[in-house]
Structure formats: C-alpha cells, structure tokens
Symmetry: C2
DNA sequence: CTGAAAGCGCTAACAA
DNA sequence: TTGTTAGCGCTTTCAG
C-alpha cells in the first residue's frame, strides 16, 4: 500500500515557515479567536505557499470529531433508491448539514458482511453520527448502534415502541385526513394500496385509512386492501387486482405517489375516468409533480423539515450524548390538486 | 462537541489484560502472521472481554490507508440518481470492493462549497481513492484530484483526450452496431435521441449513429437528431418532436433505456406500431427489463465488468501511485429482444 | 497573544 | 515468537 501523499507539509513545517509556534498555526487553521491579525495573515501566507492541508486522521485522533455523518441505506432501501422521496430526503439532509461543515457519507449495507464492516467503521470513530431512513421493523442495526453509544437518528420508526431517536411524519393522521376527504366527496367504496407491511410507516397509513372509515361508521373490507411496496409497478398490479375484485371502487388511497401513479395507469387501462369515476390520493408528491400526474391530490410530507429535524436531533445527541432519546413527529398536509 | 465513546478500551489496555505486549495485540487484530496460536487466542479473549474496537483515526495516522474509497456524485449526476444504470453500477462497485475490506462512501457534491469540502476530506486522507461516474465535460474535479495526487478513476471520460484513469464502454461502436442493425432490417429513416451533449458519452453515441449512416452511404439529417438527457420524460418529448418533423421515421436509437421507454410511449400515443412501423433500440437495459418494455432491443454495457475494472484500476494506482494513467474500454453487446 | 509540551491510539521497526 | 519504542500530525492545556 503506497504511503499517502508522502511529502505533504505538516503543521510543524508551516509553523517553521511562518516563524511561529505550532499552536498558533492550529488556531489559525481552526479559525479560533485570539490571534493577532498580522500573525494570522503571516500564517495564512505560509499555508498558501506550502499548500498545507490538515491531516484529518491526526485531527480526529487528537480528540475531536470526525466531521462526518453517515446515512445508512440497508438492503430494503435499495429499491427505494430510485424513488423521488429518497433523493429529496438526501438533498434536504445535505442542505441541513451544509452549515455544520460535516461531510454526508452515504453507505450501502446490503449483506451481513457489509453491516459488520460499517459497524466497525462507525465504532472506529470515522463518523460522528448515523442517520437511517426507511427502517424495516426487524432491523437490528439501530440497536447495535445504540449499544455502541453512537448518536443515531432514524427517519421513521420500526414500531410504535421505537426508542432510538427518530423523526417521523404523522402518517396515521395524514391517511385519515385523506380518506375523510374522499368520504366527504361522496365516495363510498374506498380501497387502499399499502406499502410493504413490514414497515411501520405502511402500517400507520393503513391504520389511518381504517380509522377514517370507522369514524364514518363504515365497515372495513379486507379485500379493499392491497399490499404494494411503494413502487409504480406494485401500484399497477394492486390496482388491477382491486378493480377485478371490486368494480364498484370509487376511491383510492395509495401509500406513495409512485404507486398512485401506477394505480392511475391501471385505472385508465381499465377504462375508468379519473377522478370522475375514481378518485386517487397518494402519499408524497415528488415524482408526480415532475412527471405525468401533476394534478394528483397528495398527502405531503414536509421533506425539508424532516431533513432539518434529523440533523438537529443528531447534533443534540452529539452535544449531550446518552441522556435521552428524542422524537419528532411532523404534520402532513393534504394538497388538493384536482382540476375543476 | 462531546468526546467520542469516552471509556473505549485501547490496544494498550487489551495488551495489559491479556498479559502481552502492545505489538502482539496489534498483530492479532490485523491478522498478521507470526503469533503463537495460544497467544492469539488469549488476546482474542481479552478483546472480547473488553469489547475492544480499533480506533480508525489512530490506525490511519500511524501511516496506513484509510480503508475507504469515495464515489463522488456531482450535481449533474443527481437526476441520474433515479436511473437504474446508476444503482446497478453502485451495486457492482460494492461487490467488487467487498473483498478488499474497504468502505464505499457515496458523497454528493452539488455546490462549489461542497466540492471544496469534499476536496479537503479527500486530501485530508479520509479516503484512499476516488471514483467518479458520468463526468461532465467541463468538470474540473478530476484535475484537482489528480493534482492532489489522489488515486482517481472515472467511469466515462470528459473528452477524447482524457488523461485521468478511466473505464468506459465502446459507445461509438455500440451505437454504430445498433444503427447498422436497424439498416439491415430495412429501416431507412433513422432518428436518434441523444443524451446531454455536454457529456462525452452522449457525443460518442451520436457519433456512432452518424458513422453507421455514413458507412451505409446515407446522409445524416440534422433534424433527425433530438437532444435528450437520458430520462424518460426527455425521451417522450424528443420523440414527439421527431414524429412531428419526420412522420416517416421508422427507426430510433435512444441514448438510454429510460429515454427509449419514453420514446415508445410517445410513439404509441401517436398511433405508431412498435416495432412494425418503428423500431427502437436503447442503450443499457435495466429499467426496461424490469418494467414495461421487456422486449426492447438494447445495447448492453457490461456493468459488472465496469465496476470490477474501476476497482482494479484504483487498486493499481494505490499500489504504485503516479506512474501512469490507466484506461479500459469495454465492449458493448447488442441484445436483440424483439418478439417474432 | 503566543510557544512549548503532553498526549490522542496505533503501526512498524528493532531488539531480545 | 514477542516486548519495546519511536513516531504519525494534530489539538489543547499551561505557562509565559
């Protein structure tokens, strides 16, 4: 293994070149206060002239932070990689992190082997904190991270009793509002296309659907529930099944915008008019707004706020570790976009 | 900033606990040869008992590698994030890296600020090498990395005179073969939907298209070339334009499978039969195989091989730095999938 | 405001 | 086969 950048100048050399002590250079590099302006300038010139770049390993070792946080993507996320919700969240995390000077590192954990490797990486101190998104119910990684006392924040929870810090949307409420809205429109046979039911988020949206029906005094019909996995293809397939089972369907709640798009395709293929014959509401509103269904009514999650909240919680945990789990549940908003 | 894992045991403590010297523990941890089996076992027990985890910063500092490589995604990549080609490449890189014990870190570089931060991160020695994909012609980052003497490998090149190490597919040849195939079928009015023409890969595919026409003694018609950006939406739009300008079109080469899918939609919407009236060939074959167009003929890039090659080149550069740029150009394959 | 010095935890070279 | 030791480059007291 070739040594890294063999002749790279060190703090020491910069100090010598500038005719000051090591500590002073360190202060300048870290923008610490208490350095005479002229000295600072002299040091800065020396840095320029020598092309000095701080050695991050040394900095880390000397007892400070790694200045990086990892966003872990476990295997089940993989398919969602292509979902707009995913990239929007990543984008918002990047924005939220911009001020902190920390690097956002996406890491893929697909096998047990990779999980172990990542754990070593994190426990080895290469990151100051860990973010996870779309956690599946049975995922043990958050527990392992918690055990290693690593600041961790989840997007979504694994169950109602999640203890690791998380940021989540009010999925039950969002779904309930959506279905109530459909009922208010006079729809009576409302079906739902869920997400993968091993994810708590999907369970919550399903619960909201059921709650709304119950509140309206209607009885839930099991055959009006079709499991999907958030993807467009699953939406198409689920919708096709639903139409066959219940030709009288006049309303749909889909657990994602993408599966809603699939549902719309299947409905049109079956000759239904949307939204005259059948109204569709989906969760999230990224892909559709940009693509083929700009007029779909959606339950919007506050993505920017989610990213910001995750970073805020993470920073709090880094600041004052191991004192408490922190939870944030953000409100959703029904965005009505039906054309007149 | 809270100190990281304050009470974490060190090598020293493990050594004391096991009643051996520090060096011995280091050897055991690193699986080095030359340790008596009984000693090794004793050390391993001590490690278990104390829950020792090596401090990676210290390890890095002590003169070895960072055991991590970064895959940089610059702003223009961002849209491709959702493209199947992207996730397939990432997957193959992960596989290729699995043996090496290195962490793959995806980093997003969207702004000048983030570019600077990443540069510091890389020059600071947090990664042993850098991979970049879908580099745009004007991107300076590879030069900066080269200047910093950081092992770097690109997927694709910025121009015909690329010097930084890269792995690329034979895009000209692939496009030429595809168009020749269409010509052999008797198609005579062949259009192309390109990728973003500020990317060399898109230029090459366009060149291949033109070469094939020329070889057949046909004249290239500028209005048969529509610029897209690899996305489905761009394919739809470009195709719609092309049909309007040239209703007689009977063949299409699309620069990606995704834009080919968009083209197919536009063709069907215009009442054309595919492939009877119009034949379509796209580059890559991921999304379509999994989605709606399993029978599209495609120019297949050897994704697995691309990932493997990139890692191989990177390892070579790390091993023996700064001696040469290395280039690999992989053959493409025309995968005919028309139904009878 | 600045310099000197004590580590941070590990690897690797050298003795033993 | 193993123990000892000299750094790796930086941050951070503590004097001055």
């Amino acid at each position: 293994m070739g040594k890294r950048r063999p002749g790279a100048p060190t703090l020491e050399e910069v100090a010598a070149h500038a005719g000051v002590g090591r500590g002073t250079v360190s202060r300048v590099v870290n923008n610490a206060a208490g350095v005479k302006e002229s000295t600072r300038r002299a040091v800065q010139r020396a840095i320029e002239e020598l092309g000095y770049v701080p050695n991050l390993a040394a900095r880390s070792l000397a007892g400070r932070r790694a200045d990086a946080v990892a966003l872990v993507l476990t295997e089940p996320d993989w398919r969602m990689f292509a979902e707009p919700f995913f990239s929007e969240i990543v984008r918002s995390l990047g924005d939220a992190l911009a001020d902190t000077g920390m690097q956002l590192l996406l890491t893929l954990v697909r096998s047990e082997d990779e999980r172990q490797r990542f754990l070593e990486y994190a426990r080895g101190g290469r990151v100051d904190g860990i973010l996870m998104m779309s956690v599946h119910a049975g995922d043990q990684l958050p527990d392992m991270l918690a055990e290693a006392r690593l600041p961790t924040v989840l997007l979504g929870r694994r169950s109602g009793e999640e203890y690791v810090s998380y940021v989540d949307a009010d999925n039950v409420g969002g779904a309930r509002n959506a279905v109530s809205y459909l009922l208010k429109q006079g729809r009576r046979t409302i079906a739902t296309i869920t997400g993968p039911l091993d994810m708590y988020v999907a369970q919550c949206r399903l619960r909201g659907y059921r709650d709304a029906l119950e509140m309206a005094g209607l009885e839930g019909t099991p055959s009006l529930v079709a499991e999907g996995d958030f993807t467009e293809e699953s939406g198409r397939r689920a919708m096709a099944d639903l139409i066959e089972r219940h030709p009288e369907i006049d309303g749909i709640l889909a657990a994602s915008d993408t599966s809603a798009a699939g549902a719309l395709q299947a409905l049109r293929a079956a000759g239904r008019r949307v939204p005259e014959d059948v109204a569709v509401i989906g969760f999230d509103d990224f892909s559709l707004a940009q693509r083929t269904e700009p007029r779909l009514t959606t339950v919007r999650q506050p993505v920017e706020e989610m990213g910001r909240s995750m970073i805020r919680l993470l920073l709090e945990e880094m600041e004052e570790p191991f004192v408490a789990w922190r939870h944030v549940i953000l409100r959703t908003e029904l965005v009505v976009r039906e054309s007149a």
